[in-house]
Symmetry: D2
């Protein structure tokens, strides 16, 4: 295993791990004992934590939120998530989680995720994230810097 | 709070908690500290564990799997899940998770879930469950007893 | 099962569940699927979450912290914990977690915990909790109201 | 950050991370969002999962259990654990968990653990592990190979 764990992978490493274009951001990790359930494979709920870990690294790397302090932190609310389970994962297997923004609207955007291990596509998922005012209720327009990052780095499209 | 926690609720209790027809199965529970994240509300991944807890009680109550021993236990594989987050939940709030099978096919079925608290519909979700042979690979036809329970208790429809 | 889950039990209910004197505070709960590990019993780390859930209910019931808002919330820091595992617990078993303060010093106190199920003493534990100033660094003297509650309700002793 | 995550570190890396002699086995990891609680630092129960992850890597590396299959797997039962919390950990901090067997008896042994981050000793802990027959009840004598590994690699002492 030569991938750095929990650090952004190079495009070459992503492609070598089986992550297809246009995914441009991903991190590797390894399955731990406490993520397994009675059936000896990774429990279904863990994938949402994996997507969350990837998402936070993504938001930091794309300059959207530093996740530090609380004063100027943008209020990002998870509106929905989904997961498709394709191949189960087992103890100590190394896997890559990749994520990209595939579409954006005026006040929200849609990320897609994938999990790859040993060249196999093990799971995919989606999440819709909404930008809110500090009242956690009023939706807020996405800053141009977000849109720019989504378009240039991920090839995201506007969904209107 | 007069609802029994983690035990099947009566139809009257379900309706009083805001769970609409045709949901016929649900359980109440209470938010714990370790389910909260930095934002002081229940973390997104917990909802999949809540659906799982409900699903296992459902499978036992509907005579599908006792979740005991391993010899004759049917091999049920979670194919996909989704969650829509509507209203966040906080420490010690009591909530009801309800679930029903809304559709079935020859070898799989689709459950829908909902979370209600204090009369508000806080989240909804879906899951597709596949019945497998003991090889965990070959799909297997649903026994008539499953279909009978899905139709008569939940009003499930055949999706072909 | 007739115990209310996750609500303070009466002394009679505690004794009937096998919880000995001088324990005066406890709650019942039920084992969930996601708490099991590959060995089909509750994972060792879950007991710390159970103690935490009990501790927060205890702190509210004893008038120490409401766990609401952040302004006047006392800064309680967990200094150490320990668990002794005696009897493993399995899916859907109902158990009681009880806790009491057995000793206090000027700026900290020691709680002991126990887990009982079906009349068996399944686990025990301890935790030391320190009261801090808002800087999270300087230890602070326990208010007389804490000491009064520890002594009269739990029979706690001063350790000097 | 140049440490490999979740892979056994060299002695030089351990010492550079602040892990003192005679610790000979440790792995690095990084704090994830879902490990934080409302107080914005790693929740107390996570440390038991960290020790568990380290312990399983240790048992594999020391030739005690491969954690594969179930036929010949030794029955290792966790008898007790404890944690001392010294310095809280925050989002994305890299830390090293190290573990060693400090003492053994005829049918059980005691491991000690430590967590270091940025040169600080953040937590310590212990666990007692018992070797059982396949009935999970009868204690079994430790094979000479375990004792040899504990003594030569960790400097463990016999406690009689």
């Amino acid at each position: 295993m030569t991938l750095p764990l929990l650090a952004p992978l190079s495009t070459d490493d992503l492609r070598a791990a089986g992550v297809p274009e246009p995914f441009a951001f991903g991190q590797a990790d390894r399955v731990r004992f406490h993520e397994l359930d009675v059936l000896d494979h990774v429990n279904n709920a863990c994938y949402l934590s994996w997507f969350e870990t990837l998402r936070i690294a993504y938001l930091r790397a794309y300059g959207i939120s530093a996740y530090e302090g609380t004063a100027d932190r943008p209020v990002l609310v998870l509106k929905s998530v989904s997961v498709d389970y394709k191949v189960p994962l087992h103890l100590e297997e190394v896997y890559v989680v990749a994520g990209r923004t595939r579409a954006y609207r005026n006040r929200s955007w849609t990320m897609e995720y994938g999990v790859w291990s040993d060249g196999r596509h093990c799971a995919s998922g989606e999440a819709v994230i909404v930008l809110m005012e500090n009242d956690f209720t009023t939706r807020k327009a996405l800053p141009e810097s977000y849109v720019e990052a989504f378009r240039t780095r991920d090839g995201a499209v506007y969904e209107g």
